[in-house]
Amino acid sequence: MEFRSPEFKTRAVHALHDANLQKALSNTKAGFVVKRAQAAAEMPEFEALRDTAAEIKNHVLANLDHYLEKYEAAVTAAGGHVHYATDAEDARRIILGICKKANAKRITKGKSMVSEEMSLNEALIGEGYEVVETDLGEYIIQLADEPPSHIIAPAIHKTKDQVADLFAAAHNKPRKTDRAALVAEAREVLREKYFTAEVGITGGNFLVAETGSSVIVTNEGNGDLTQTLAKVHIVTSGIERVIPTLDDLSVFLRILARSATGQETESYTTFSTGPRRPGDIDGPEEYHVVLLDNGRSKMLGSRFQDMLRCIRCGACMNHCPVYGSIGGHAYGWVYPGPMGSVLTPLIKGMDGTYDLPNACTLNGRCQSVCPVRIPLPDLLREIRHQQFRKDMTPKRQKQALKLWRYVAERPKLYHFAERIGVRILASMANGKGKLRSLPFDPGWTGARDLPAPTGRTFLELWQAKRGDK
């Protein structure tokens, strides 16, 4: 997937002026925020489950090598194959190899953010394969030739009318505007694809070490059709997604849907363990799992290890007011919102990702809903520290910080400077109580006035009135 994070600022401003996008984003609140709050409130055990989930993830991360070995052994025993990929290129090579061996022409895909990380579609299409995204949201944006803008609702930025236009153009059928009719049309078109694809690629929300199962959680059932009807099933997942046992997994099943969509459970939770067994009359003949590292192992033991607990539920972005203002595309890569602002610099590197951790008010709403209690604001701040140390902080800001520190470390000078400053500002306000513009304005007065100081500092007045009590 194209990397456009360096353009964050311009794309964010563009998004703010995109009326369709703004309309679509306003649906997020009723759709996700309210429902999640209800789901959490209806379950007395919810907070304790979040603690347990975080503990289980921490336990896995501390023993990741062992659980991966266990998982791999179980998959192999079930007749499947586990492939390890150090980075996106490695993963593409592995998957292209499997598709070639399978003599594939058509490939169906369930939603997989890891495959986006691999830029898999581009690679497959480049080799001449027909690639069909089957998750309705992914299908819509594939028709629009756009990347996903949300990790669980990839087409959240599209309005119904835009979908109608895309379908009318792609399907050669009369334009429909009724939602049910649109869904039915996609169903009909995609059905044909499931039955004729040689390879089906899905993600893997969880990998169970005990059984060697990959688990996907969906509402549409597209992942099931994708993986059941193709001859070869390829699972793409991250090395951190392994869970020890089915009992551990149950904890995550209880928090994932509630956090993601506010549902008690999604319609389908599907476990896949190896290929078709002797006597089975359906199911894939081959089963492969491609486990992607792509920077994950480097997070282990670092100050960012907590990020590896992420279960990709999307709650952090649903509750992020910055995401809610600009949508997912502005972030410029696979993962938007708070979790993406941590992950993108860690995976893609610090270059070109400066804005992501900075375009955040550190308001903490993301952390307050994260089911695995990732301290997202702290991690974002930690990336800012690394940027500062790498000398990536803009020069002007660095100089300002330097000056501010120099003065703030000298209380007498500081208070003297503040006294001068407030007098200047107060006189500039000229009795109006506010300033419409400022010399050397760092960006304050573009959209707001500056309420003017009254002309004396608090300390100055306090000392005059009370002495140093």
Binding site: T86, I239, S250
Partner: protein, 214 residues
């Protein structure tokens, strides 16, 4: 070095240790063999069937109580008639002994693209969420659960349990390991991908009906 080796090395480097010693591995293996039991959702309902039905119906599924396995064909036929579905269905051999009314075409094979109705036997039902658990196998083709537009599931009450975890106990007791596919199904296929408004029948069944048996 293979990618696998590179990754394992990096993991251990990150964790600041070499491969785990035998004692540590044994401890982790014991954790898998005897999985710790975590907090669950409280399910204190006296009537599990009622809870199951209420939850399943809350997601647009429908349920019906039947007294015996022999009642299945009539219930399916009535449903088919009310939705104007032709008298033809895919049925796993797990339900192979049923006597279908005259005129019904029953196929035990995998579901093909034009199949409109599937009838399956649930392996377990979960009261907590109102979900059913399907296991794959020669007698229970997995395509029956996803391809037909209407899916009817027979759930014997003795197989209705409280929690997910009860399924794992049963699965371990069965001693076969995990089947190729296990599906928790909690209602008809749905999507919210067009303006976050729920539509049923995105790809999988548009209608799901559970016949609670017993």
């Amino acid at each position: 070095m293979s990618s696998r080796d590179t990754i394992f090395k990096a993991i251990r480097q990150g964790l600041g240790r070499g491969p785990l010693d035998d004692a540590a591995r044994a401890k982790l293996d014991a954790r898998i063999a005897e999985p710790p039991q975590h907090i669950r959702a409280t399910v204190d309902d006296a009537d599990l069937v009622a809870r199951f039905a209420q939850r399943f119906e809350s997601r647009s599924g429908t349920t019906e109580r039947i007294a015996s396995l022999a009642d299945v064909p009539a219930a399916v036929a009535a449903l088919a008639e009310s939705y104007a579905i032709a008298p033809s269905a895919v049925v796993g051999t797990a339900l192979g002994e049923l006597a279908w009314p005259e005129g019904w075409q029953i196929d035990h094979g995998a579901a093909t693209i034009d199949v409109m109705l599937g009838v399956s036997l649930a392996w377990r039902g979960i009261a907590e969420t109102g979900s059913i658990l399907m296991l794959s196998g020669p007698e229970r083709p997995i395509t029956h659960n996803f391809v037909p537009e209407t899916h009817v599931v027979v759930l014997p009450v003795e197989h209705l349990v409280r929690h997910y975890e009860d399924c794992w106990v049963a699965l371990r007791e069965a001693g076969q390991g995990a089947p190729r596919a296990m599906n928790f199904i909690s209602g008809p296929s749905r999507t919210g991908d067009v303006e976050q408004t729920i539509e049923l029948g995105a790809h999988g069944p548009r209608r799901m009906h559970v016949l609670i048996l017993g």
